[in-house]
Symmetry: C2
């Protein structure tokens, strides 16, 4: 196993290519590392600058006294190899190279030379052509994107490995805005040395990571990928989105990360065998991750719908029946009998269980309790439309109370504006997953149940 | 054609079954009509109440002097027929019945009696078991949902016909929060008399309606539906979502709106022949509607991607190639030559056109101008990830400038948190459609192009 510790937990970092111009990459990286509250030393390097943000700038890494764990290179492509050689002389084994201008623009020769040198000298390299690392637990932030444009996430359970820097940062940004919390974000670009398999192996052993998201364009070593990811996916879910599935998409990957994308069927086949959850979109990737983040785990696949909107019950029924891995639960005759006793006759006790438009908080409480107790139900899709006047806001406490008591997943669907959003946020804060639309929830549940079944067989 | 004018533009309304209890339907309806700023008269009726919200309450419609255009009934099901008879005596031809407790709970006899009486007396009825009407241009609001829970939309181009009240109100709520503007929202429940075809025919002639959204569970008169919707869809797009597509979903429609849902294939076949856009989800329905709302119209199907995120370019390419009705455009040799001259060599001039991570506003401007001028391009998917530092916020002016000048659609995709959201809202305010994820944009474009092709053949 590759030792990647210095890329996430370095004690001393050299940033090579710092700049005094706030719009330059070398400035932004240096500033972001400081602003993130990194607890180790950060040493700026640039032969043409003497001081930056109250730090003395070294003219070369060789001038730095003492051990340096990680060198971050933000310099033109043609200067990279020379500086890597200096790093070697200084005894630095780990380099993070953000610079672009290698195989992704057809400059394979330059990248191959670099690769050879790294290999020969047993140096490890993240990049080239990447954003690097955001590690929320170690307060390490090498992303060269301004913090006012890209809010950084709070520490949490998701790690995101992304070949594309821009996709990664945009998704990190929206996911953070939606309240997702991250352990690590890694943009690895051309994978000149360290590749997705190395990173995922590392995350497999990272105690802060509960779920791994992966955006990948090309996999260079299929055998390694298969072996490593199979092992990791036995421990925790990996959700992948593959870019370059069509002929035209594949062509585009070449000029993006210099990747050969490879046949869709081959990838999907490997994903399936290994137990990787294949996401249809970036949105779906994070929908699934959010279920894992909230500890949702299904022991079976029979889902009960409880709703106060008949139409939503019907749409959800259609989606569950169409889903590959979920079944509609059938309530036990005991549950049906009990609920019929307490509910008005306008309520048809079945699945979907429509509590109708005048549903009260109490009615939800009765329905939830009965369905949770029912052995024929493995999880609940709780549709909660707050537009009707009789649902009181303390329903948030009722649901989160059940959520804490039971191991049966309760997944909420609530659609609406400000009033709804506020209540959904309260539920999310209490650990209950909430979706805006039935289909999003059901597709995410479907894929998570697939993973659960797969893992048992692994 | 059925004359539905009194349901949308009544001058005098009687609300039968008003209540002094703010949690009762009869109170909420009466108050909402007043709060909406309805310009005509609203007359409350209830034999047991003498005054409500500073209005004198009549003991019966028969006591009201002068003509009443529309009676709204919010009374128990068993009293409905009696009151409808009183309305008839008073000369009221149009009734809106929100009451539930008819065929949707198996009480077919009561509903059939009502239906017969209406038919015999040539009265028109919206409902039963419905929310009624929200008409933003005429300030008419019969929805019995509190305004603090369900924000009402601003006047605009979308009309939404929804068999289910709860689905309708939840979607109206979230769509309003997302900035969509509506002409009319109609929840028609059991369709005892007026059905979806009548409503859509009316909306086809409504000058304020540019696009019609429809959630439907069961269609009782297929021939009428076919004839009416074919005619309307020649004039303006109708986007439909069908509830009850699976066996299990169909069963559920029976106890919801008393509808027989019917075979999926039959519905989809009719939709296709008639030219109705078949939405896969509620979210997609409004994604498509938002394009029409913003006057997006494609003259051809060749789409050019411009991006500053390579991965997004690849994901979008995959989605376009997989879409049924869109093609990737090929830039003319002239455009390629011109762009190669001005762009750095790191930019590969093709489709997707990746302006790479250091893209500036100026680079976007050059790319946009060239693609708009190119005869081989019918529309532009403009991916704009604001996380990178060199894009200045005046790009909003640049894009909206092009948007105003050209008839070629520019559809923007921007993913991110607060910074991104603010800029996206600015663009939307200037009439440019913006999506958060590439797939949502591409699926909506795909279906709109299908409609455009279909309409030409109609």
């Amino acid at each position: 196993m590759v030792n990647l510790k210095n890329f996430f937990e370095p004690k001393r970092i050299a940033v090579i290519g710092v700049s005094r111009n706030p719009r330059k990459v070398g400035y932004v990286i240096f500033k972001n590392i400081l602003d993130a509250g990194f607890e180790g030393d950060v040493i700026p390097v640039n032969p043409h600058v003497s001081e930056i943000l109250n730090h003395i700038v070294y003219s070369s890494v060789k001038k730095i006294k003492g051990k340096v764990d990680l060198a971050i290179l933000a310099i033109p492509a043609e200067k990279v190899l020379g500086v890597v050689k200096e790093c070697k002389s200084k005894g630095i084994k780990d380099v993070l190279i953000v610079s672009s201008g290698f195989s992704e623009v057809g400059n394979n020769e330059l990248e191959n030379k670099l690769k050879e040198f790294l290999k020969k000298n047993k140096m490890r390299c993240l990049g080239v052509n990447c954003l690097g690392v955001y590690d929320s637990y170690n307060a390490l932030d090498t992303l060269f994107l301004p913090r006012y444009r890209l809010k950084r996430p709070l520490p949490g359970a998701i790690s995101f490995v992304c070949q594309s820097g821009a996709v990664g940062s945009a998704i990190l940004d929206i996911a953070t805005a939606k309240g997702h919390k991250f352990s690590k974000f890694i943009s690895y670009g051309n994978a000149t040395d360290i590749d997705e398999s190395d990173l995922i192996e590392y995350l497999g052993n990272d105690k802060n990571t509960k779920v791994i998201c992966l955006y990948v364009e090309g996999i260079k070593d299929g055998e390694k990928f298969y072996k490593v990811l199979k092992k990791v996916s036995e421990k925790k879910p990996i959700i992948a989105l593959k870019g370059g599935l069509t002929e035209e998409g594949m062509e585009a990957t070449l000029s993006h990360t210099g990747s050969l994308a490879g046949k869709k069927e081959v990838y999907f086949g490997i994903f399936k065998q290994v137990g990787i959850i294949n996401a249809d979109s970036l949105e779906e990737m994070f929908n699934i991750a959010s279920l894992v983040e909230k500890n949702v785990e299904f022991k079976g696949n029979r889902l009960q719908i409880i709703t106060n909107g008949g139409g939503y019950g019907i749409i959800s029924t259609d989606a569950i029946v169409d889903a590959e891995n979920i079944e509609m639960s059938s309530l036990s005759s005991k549950t049906i009998k009990n609920l019929r006793k307490v509910f008005p006759k306008t309520i048809n006790v079945r699945n979907p269980l429509d509590l109708v438009g005048d549903a009260t908080t109490e009615r939800y409480e009765i329905a939830l309790e009965a369905c949770i107790k029912d052995d024929k139900v493995d999880g609940i899709l709780l549709i909660l439309l707050y537009q009707t006047p009789l649902i009181t806001t303390d329903i948030v406490e009722v649901i989160s109370g059940f959520h804490q008591e039971t191991k049966k997943p309760i997944v909420v669907v609530s659609t609406g504006g400000e009033f709804t959003e506020n209540l959904s946020e309260s539920l999310e804060d209490k650990g209950v997953p909430v979706f805006s639309f039935p289909k999003d929830a059901i597709h995410a549940i479907d894929k998570l149940i697939w993973y659960g079944k797969k893992r048992k067989r692994l």
